[in-house]
């Protein structure tokens, strides 16, 4: 783990870096709920996916699935699986982040996904996650912080569905 004092960061960048770095190695597990057919169909509509395997149960069954299946990155695309935070708890940019980091700008930078089995409508999932790495790079406009977290989506008995590593970039 790299302390902010080693990175030359200050202010909100340092606060964000330290908050994320302090979470490295902390493992969390939580119940996400059931991925139902409505969520799958809505996600498919939102991305413009018209393939019948995501919309039509009989078409999915004809292909050997028990029901319609989720598009490949539905699990990773969901930003919040629970009710979410009250508006008063959100940062001005609409995101929820710990610490005094109101001025930071964040965006997705990339992802690695292992798609271990199809996610069929009715699948109940748990999420096991952990911050794995926090790095600092110098961009043209200043310091960039990259936070990489592992997200394992598993069934009740630990059956793995997706194993993802997602990187988010933060900057002032």
């Amino acid at each position: 783990m790299t302390e902010a004092s080693d990175t030359g960061l200050s202010g909100e960048l340092a606060a964000y870096h330290d908050a994320m770095a302090a979470r490295i190695g902390e493992k969390h597990r939580r119940h996400l709920g059931v991925v139902d057919a409505l969520l799958i169909r809505r996600y498919a509509v939102a991305i413009g996916e018209t393939s019948a395997v995501h919309h039509d149960t009989e078409a999915a069954k004809a292909l050997g699935y028990e029901d319609i299946i989720a598009p490949p990155n539905l699990l990773s695309g969901i930003m919040e699986w629970g009710a979410g935070h009250a508006e008063s708890e959100l940062r001005p940019d609409g995101t929820y982040r710990p610490g005094p980091t109101s001025a930071l700008r964040v965006m997705g930078a990339g992802e690695e996904m292992e798609l271990l089995r199809p996610v069929t409508a009715g699948t109940e999932l748990w999420l096991e996650d952990e911050v794995e790495e926090v790095t600092v790079k110098q961009g043209r406009s200043g310091a960039l912080i990259f936070v990489t977290a592992r997200h394992d989506f598993v069934g009740a008995d630990g059956t793995p569905y997706n194993r993802n590593r997602r990187t988010v970039m933060a900057r002032l």
Binding site: S51, E80, G94, M107, E111, M113
Partner: protein, 133 residues
């Protein structure tokens, strides 16, 4: 069994033009309240040219190019990508996929993914591996 895909084969491009409406609905279905995706004033305040396309929507486009190009006899098993350039609503995105490797038995494919933003500027670069179902 469907026909295989030889090394070097390019799958059909997927051309899309994300709208403000699409970005709002993607934010809604993923319960993503980040204002850069639906509040143009805020997005510009953060220095973006317009409403920012979600990184996962870029990925969904790239993956659709693969799944639609390969057809239902194949399934994605591994994907890796980087967002190398942000894009905004109203621009045309073209997702491309090319077979870069085939296993000896033809049952597994490696693919290179590039999604271009309004021409030839890559905004997503990545790889995928697909297996015959």
């Amino acid at each position: 069994m469907s026909a295989g895909f030889p090394k070097g084969q390019k799958l059909p491009d997927l051309v899309v033009a994300p709208t403000a409406l699409q970005l709002f609905r993607y934010s809604a279905v993923t319960w993503n309240a980040h204002r850069v995706h639906y509040d143009e004033g805020w997005a510009k305040h953060e220095g973006h040219a317009g409403l920012l396309v979600h990184s996962h929507l870029h990925a969904a486009n790239a993956l659709r190019a693969v799944t639609e190009g390969l057809g239902p006899d194949w399934r994605l098993v591994h994907v890796s990508y980087r967002i190398v350039r942000p894009s905004t609503a109203g621009r045309t995105l073209r997702a491309t996929a090319e077979v870069t490797g085939v296993s000896d038995d033809g049952g597994e494919l490696e693919l290179r993914l590039v999604e271009y933003d309004d021409g030839d500027m890559p905004c997503l670069e990545g790889t995928a591996r697909a297996a015959r179902r």
